[in-house]
Amino acid sequence: MTDKMDNTTRLERMRERYMNGDLDRRSFLGLIGAAGLAYGVQTPFAKYANAQTVSQVRFDGWGGVVSEAFRKHAFDPYTAATGINVVDGTFGGPDEYISRIKAGQEGEYNIAHLSGVFDYARYHNLGFSSVLNEDNIPNLKYVIPKLVDVFRKVTDGKLSCVPYDYGTTGLAYNRKYISDDEMKEKGAKILIDEGHKGKIAGWGDWRTRIWFASLQTGQDPNGATDMEAVWDAIRTHRDLSLKYWGSGAELMSLLAEEEIHVTEGWSGRIFALQEQGHDIGYMDPPNGYGWQECLFVIKGSPMEACEELLNFMLDPATSIAVAEGQNYPPALDPTKVDLGAKIPTLPAFDPTGTLANLTFADPAYWNENEQEWTKTFGRVQKGY
């Protein structure tokens, strides 16, 4: 009986020859080195050869209650049904995530929970988009058409993602210190109100800061004309703020611990705080920041496995369960699907399915100015 000639057997035979004196030390070490090099060089490419047998898909999202909802209501049942493991990672924001994809290898990152059409466009412009085979995602028919169409426009009628949920970034305030009436009266200007100095916070995200500064200066958030006034409003907010928060968990902690009285916040996270019993109010000011999130499939991913996961996640039962877990309304059209009892109570929910009451960021406007504004914001944020 002969041994199967695998790598271990080859190395064992070579070692035996060396020990018997049939192979000198230099040749032995040289062959070991060559074997190591060959293994190191071929390994990164070997995974593509194995792509036919997909055993796992990587998903990256926002962490916290959102990731918990995905894990519990979507990934675990998907793994049980298909045998494909979903590895879920988190990111602080899509900017950070781009850097990771850029630094990684093609195929290393597969599906991302991106926010906003501007990010979809940015990822597409950087060459990270894929082309979905929509035949493999029949549940796409349940999605609000408006949410799908905006993505199609960016990628020439094709899709690299499926819309998944939507929400708003509105004003969150502690009712112990700020009344509903005061919020109605001041709106977005509450974030630059001297009376709350040191008890104000805000997300350290350039888009959000510019959006709210536009509202504070009475300008169109998708077309500000007086940027100096916008930067001044951001400076005022900075000087009155205790801190810029950097994640949903930090936002919730600052409000729950009463370190701050008011900030802008993500509707689902604020709803989660309310569910926990904190007396936190939430208000979308006129022209408040609406956004939609999508599940974006990154170029180089195992497409069929990803499409299968997307279809699974868009299944009304899964989608509703995830939405109830993460507190953001699903992208499912309420005129086509019965969304149950909880979802209609979530902030930002639109029962008509038209989303006409939400103002979304215009990708052309934001991406066109991104380079200049991120740089300026970086300076303003630090006291300049």
Binding site: D95, S99, D239, E259, T374
Partner: protein, 288 residues
Amino acid sequence: MSVEAREARQPWILLSPALGAVALLLFVPLLFIVVYSFWLRTSTGADQVGFYLENWQEVLSDAFYRDILLNTLRIAAITTVVCALMGYPAAYFIARSSGNKAILLLLLMLPFWISYIIRTMSWINILGVSGAFNTFMLWIGIIDEPLQMLYNQTTVILGLVHFLLPFMVLNVFVSLDGIDTNLEDAANSLGATRWQAFVQVTLPLSLPGLAAGGLLCFVLGAGTYITPLVLGGPRDAMFANLVFEAIITQLNWPLGSALSLMLLAVLGALVLIYNRYLGMAQLMKGLG
């Protein structure tokens, strides 16, 4: 091959794995960063390959970067001084204690078993509005409403001292432990008081350890970005935060590379000055 030639080669053979690791994990990535610093970021976020000096011109001529760098060096210097003032007595106590030295050193190393980020975040639970300190002060009636203590430069320095103090104590301890205590006895027998013996004998002999600890605290403090991110307010950014922002938020890897090389050059110059006057031997002892 002669015996001499073989013996001459032996150290290099033994060193080769370490040298290979240093070359692959330090110099090659550094080379990439140098190359990147001469590229340009296009408006779409993609990199434009070539040899452009724009990033370097911006980094070297823009007052914004200079101001943040100076602020970073100032915070690192304050942190180093605080660490020295707090760390020296602790190291002296450990070095002169008899019997329980090993336990004290173990206690000193304990914080390293917990993640630096967790240790930094623990201050939120201590100094926060609902934190342990405010709760206690409210409970005993010294204050009527919580004090706002977090998210300013003081808490950034506090967080850095918390992180860096063990490095200072260890270096000073190594230095003090190597000093013959008979020297102090000799000074005392010649009429010096205990204080005079310390100031004129022990302190000068332990200065290399203090300097080594100071260098480590300064370099690590100046390069941190987590502490200002977690414990700082809007105006408390340090230079490493600029690198993080350029690379992560602005997706401007070329500019981020130039910024990181600038920080490396400033801190590298400091290490060279230290090496010129004090040598690296003491630092190695402390790290060992």
